[in-house]
Subunit: 463 residues, 2 copies
Amino acid sequence: MAELLVTGGVVVTLDARRRIIRDGAVAIRDGRIVAVGKATALAPQFPTAERIEAADHIVLPGFIDTHQHATQMLAKGLADDCTFWQWCYERIFPYDAALSEEDVYWGALLHGLELVRSGITCFADPGGPHPEAVARAVAEVGHRAVLSLHTWDRSPADRPLPEAVRSPSPAAALAATRRFMDAWDGQAGGRIRVSAAVRTLTNASPELLRAMLALARERDTIVQLHAAVSDSHNQWVQAETGRTPIRYLASLDALSDRWLLAHCARIDDEEVQLLARAGAKVAHCPGSSLHSAYGAVAQGKIPELLAAGVTVALGCDAVASNNRIDMFQEMFLLAGGQKDARRDGVIFPAEQALEMATRAGASALLAADQLGSLEVGKRADLVLVDARAPALTPLYDFALVPGLVYCASKHDVATVIIDGRVVLRDRRFPHLDEARILAEVRARAQALIERLALPVASRWPWE
Amino acid sequence: MAELLVTGGVVVTLDARRRIIRDGAVAIRDGRIVAVGKATALAPQFPTAERIEAADHIVLPGFIDTHQHATQMLAKGLADDCTFWQWCYERIFPYDAALSEEDVYWGALLHGLELVRSGITCFADPGGPHPEAVARAVAEVGHRAVLSLHTWDRSPADRPLPEAVRSPSPAAALAATRRFMDAWDGQAGGRIRVSAAVRTLTNASPELLRAMLALARERDTIVQLHAAVSDSHNQWVQAETGRTPIRYLASLDALSDRWLLAHCARIDDEEVQLLARAGAKVAHCPGSSLHSAYGAVAQGKIPELLAAGVTVALGCDAVASNNRIDMFQEMFLLAGGQKDARRDGVIFPAEQALEMATRAGASALLAADQLGSLEVGKRADLVLVDARAPALTPLYDFALVPGLVYCASKHDVATVIIDGRVVLRDRRFPHLDEARILAEVRARAQALIERLALPVASRWPWE
């Protein structure tokens, strides 16, 4: 049955006019939205469609998480309360090197469940070990991803990368990326796309950066990159190149509208203008900034980036960096974080946060024609939020969107439809054995932590 | 049956040694903890106790929320994205004046459900209209509260308070507080305590402040007060008194260890020392600071207050100011917010956040001998967190407390015991009709909003 009618809910369209339709409906055929309007008007037009009852629910376009690491799912808790360098070299790089392909696969299944449960229907991932295992998991869970092969071809003498995670040369990184693209781009009915990616500027040669940008142009996709992440990261880039990250990219004549730059936590006003002129996209990750001390919330340039016309989208980032996957929390941290930092209660309305979690995310992935709103012709990625949940009681009409941003959480997501298929229904996954996935991740995590033998101990004594 | 044995869980004691007991147990008799240890050791000592199975759960002392407003439950969504003045004079004061006693009662029931669901077993409330209705609701839900009568006796000519919320004189405020204390202090088996309270410095005469402090000393309790909330608030205090809020209190010779000061978002280093010397307590409300633009997270003095030895506890604040009730979120915002603001990944370990949500809360309410940890002799307020929840998978032993702070949310709370009684069991309220409470709040909110006719509209068009 390829026809669905989601009917009776309050439909928040996020269309050009930002309409909110009471007793609304969305009709879906073959994975695509074919009508949006009043339920009474649509019902007779789709008499044989399968009904999804949305009364007492808010119907939203799926959230788009523009910065994630599916491969870090088993690293939850490995890298809390530590410095940037400890995070990289003592925790996550050894973790990356120790992962088996099946570890990644099972972790990515749980990652998918957690994204979908949060209403995230599409994510972008700058890569990690065994990306093909992530692709298999995404195909199976049913969500949407822009995956990539993480590439880095330089290993500073004073901070060597583990061999297991490094590309031997720009040419080898490019060839491997092409192979991954050829194998997976457009797979799973088009739900999986593959972009170019470079892990960090400090571990990338100018040749690698230019090669990836050229590849992105050739394949009409983006390049995912961590940029201006933290003070430590910026200092490292400056020590190696003499420039701050954004200026360094500009100096290579490599700053373009193809970049999806994760974090940009530490940039100045001139860099804001460089990003704006180039049309580069920013993935702001407020939860990750809080957990990992990046300063993007308290001292970042989000209002300035938006004022300059830069596309700023949201990312939850990895569970080793946040450690939560909840786009509602990110919206709250975005709108609230800017208010707290600027001590201005009207600087960041809730509506703008919802736009950044949906429409801006689609733009950041160069998919604004396909995703990010509930409009005829777009892919059918819909989230049904339980408007009768305690956290949303009471819910005044004028506070509908503020309620989503300031009151709701992922636990209020009831049903998620992706590409016209019901992936989550009444808080359960009809096609997946969640208990088995949780048990397998637990067992693999235990085995992994024993293999890793990290120098980490509980600060409080166990008996 | 007055004997309970919570058995088989990981017990995080928060005792002096901060022990974590694997396969632990807590024995409870007549509402009090009578033993804490290994399950195998306690089982034979309490053969007839009712068993609460805690395997695969983490057992914590109940969270203590040191700043709440039960009366604002129906104001959720009334005051988003607005200035401090709009919040007060255009939204919440008219709301307060329009509330009926039954509105407050039903709102406070839902408030209680939401607190308990988040693992909060005790809250402090500086008051609002119809506090006796809040007391009735607390008695019924089964949690613990330090309630008070909000008092304010001054109404500036340029910003008059509605008559309905103002006390006619310091003497009248004092007499009313005594009456409320006599009626409710120690009720509900001691779960309800009544403190003194003053709403804000800007609406209080020096006589009222001194009278309330004297009353608190006489009755061995605290005075709850909003202090140094925001720039606007500080400027108002300065305009009226010539001093910043903390300096003003000090100038009256009224700064003492009886004060529980909500927010202290805008204080300087000298005021930190004034607070430390006086032994005043601070209720830090990070979520509220984000929502309401106070600046307490990005530019507050939390690390300085802690370094000076001030007791800093946590508050979720009202749903008109946050708008969430989730102590896990507050812990994350506390530990993460300081990291982001100071760009220092090790400045605020997770363990300190958990201490502030429990032990420090008890100290702030002058109840450290009764609450805040799982120790023999203390009241039996326990929270069982589902350690197998997806958000806590995987959960490494060394990351147990970081997992609670950075990964968990209120939805992972399974069971809550207060004063030895199971108030929440497997995410349900055995003694309360939650659906009826939600329906009643919805209906009352709708009627209220029609009575109020606030000048607030949706920013996006409804059809």
